[in-house]
């Protein structure tokens, strides 16, 4: 879902100047929340994507105002209320790899209130598949216990200018890991070289 948590490239969150906070936890309850989350995940009370979706459903203003483990606490409270501690058998699908290293791809523009790991800053952008991993379970269906979809995950590399236009550093690249369902073939019109932002103008 396109929410406050989806922060890549968002302007207005301030700087990282001296005095930045190096601590991992500030209070002992935070360490206990971290531990409870890991124990419940290992037990299978929820899966990682259900947990992430519970964090993402925190209203935007509250999400931004909350400390990290405060969000985890809110998510755990909700999941504890909702979860029945029973195993639900999901229909499994296995998808063969459609892309290989070097392939140009375009990221789909998925706009959903459900959970996804498709960050909005790469939606619609062209990149190059660098490597293939997995298979891993597709978060979009796992978070809602719809089905168990094993898919390859691709590390896709984008030129800074493809994501951020002319303001990007010419030697900056971003890679992000994307499930196969998030990607489409880039139709190259007879061209095999990597796409450049300038080509779109």
């Amino acid at each position: 879902m396109n929410g406050a948590h989806d922060m890549g490239g968002v302007i207005g969150h301030g700087g990282l100047d001296a005095g930045r906070d190096e601590r991992a936890v500030h209070h002992s309850w935070e360490g206990r929340v971290n531990a409870m989350m890991r124990l419940l995940l290992a037990r299978g009370l929820f899966n990682l994507d259900q947990f992430r979706h519970a964090v993402e459903r925190i209203p935007a203003s509250e999400y931004l105002a909350s400390a990290y483990y405060e969000r985890w606490l809110t998510a755990l409270e909700g999941l504890t209320r909702e979860s029945r501690d029973e195993t639900i058998a999901l229909v499994e699908h296995r998808r063969e790899a459609r892309f290989a290293p070097g392939d140009p791809v375009i990221v789909r523009n998925v706009y959903t209130k459900r959970h996804t790991r498709l960050a909005r800053y790469v939606a619609g952008r062209r990149g190059i598949v660098e490597s293939v991993h997995g298979p891993f379970l597709l978060p979009d269906t796992r978070a809602h216990l719809i089905s168990a979809d094993w898919e390859p995950v691709y590390t896709v590399v984008f030129k800074g200018s493809e994501l951020w236009g002319d303001e990007a550093g010419p030697r900056d690249h971003v890679s992000i890991d994307l499930w196969q369902s998030y990607l489409e073939e880039a139709h190259e019109q007879g061209r095999r070289s990597p796409p450049r932002a300038a080509d779109r103008s």
Binding site: D6, M7, G8, H13, H27, M36, L39, L40, R171, D177
Partner: protein, 205 residues
């Protein structure tokens, strides 16, 4: 509150009270035990932290064969040196060179290679880092005290899936005769996130 009360515990904050209530409820429902929570807390306080990643880096610096294994199959390479705390996530180690500098971020939550670095620092989980590391990495690094040469490529790794990343920094010059323990001591957490590079203290190097 008078000095006499100093040995009494402070009343819990709202968040502390909520965490306590949640734990009680989960124990009551039989979903976890207080002892299990204690044990995970202790593990993160005592056993899991950046010294693990630093050991792997230092070993890779002295052994080219180990470095190859660390870059091609990080989990096995870590197991080899006794680091076995992995879960479902994959781990990939990415190498800094004289032409590429790597930086790790998670823009969607705060995924982090906890199995080798422990729990992430607050700034890593902060909105400024998560929003800007992909957009203007060089500016972010400069604010954090690392100025990169213009001619070097910057590669930002947004760990959005089930793969975690750790940076293998470059071995600093002037450390040719150092032991692995001495080398590990200059490999800070920030070097393995990619927001710093190892520095040799002036008095030594």
């Amino acid at each position: 509150m008078s000095k006499d009360d100093a040995h009494h515990p402070e009343p819990p904050t709202d968040l502390e009270a909520r965490a306590l209530a949640l734990e009680s409820l989960l124990v009551e429902r039989g979903l976890l035990t207080t002892a299990a929570v204690d044990s995970v807390v202790a593990k993160f306080e005592q056993d899991i932290g950046p010294t693990l990643g630093a050991r792997a880096v230092a070993h890779a610096w002295v052994s080219p064969d180990y470095k190859r294994r660390l870059l091609s199959d990080a989990k096995s390479a870590l197991t080899e040196i006794g680091i076995t705390e992995h879960q479902a996530e994959e781990l990939i180690v990415v190498e800094n060179t004289s032409s590429v500098h790597n930086v790790i971020v998670c823009t969607l939550c705060s995924c982090y290679p906890w199995m080798v670095l422990g729990l992430p620092p607050t700034w890593y989980k902060s909105a400024p880092y998560r929003s800007r590391a992909v957009l203007e990495p060089r500016t972010v690094l400069r604010e954090m005290g690392l100025e990169l040469p213009q001619q070097i490529d910057v590669r930002v790794w947004d760990s959005s899936a089930d793969i975690r990343y750790m940076v293998l920094p470059m071995r600093p010059s002037g450390t040719e005769n150092w032991t692995e323990d001495e080398l590990a001591a200059v490999v800070t957490r920030d070097c393995m996130i990619g927001v710093a590079v190892p520095r040799v203290p002036a008095s030594v190097g």
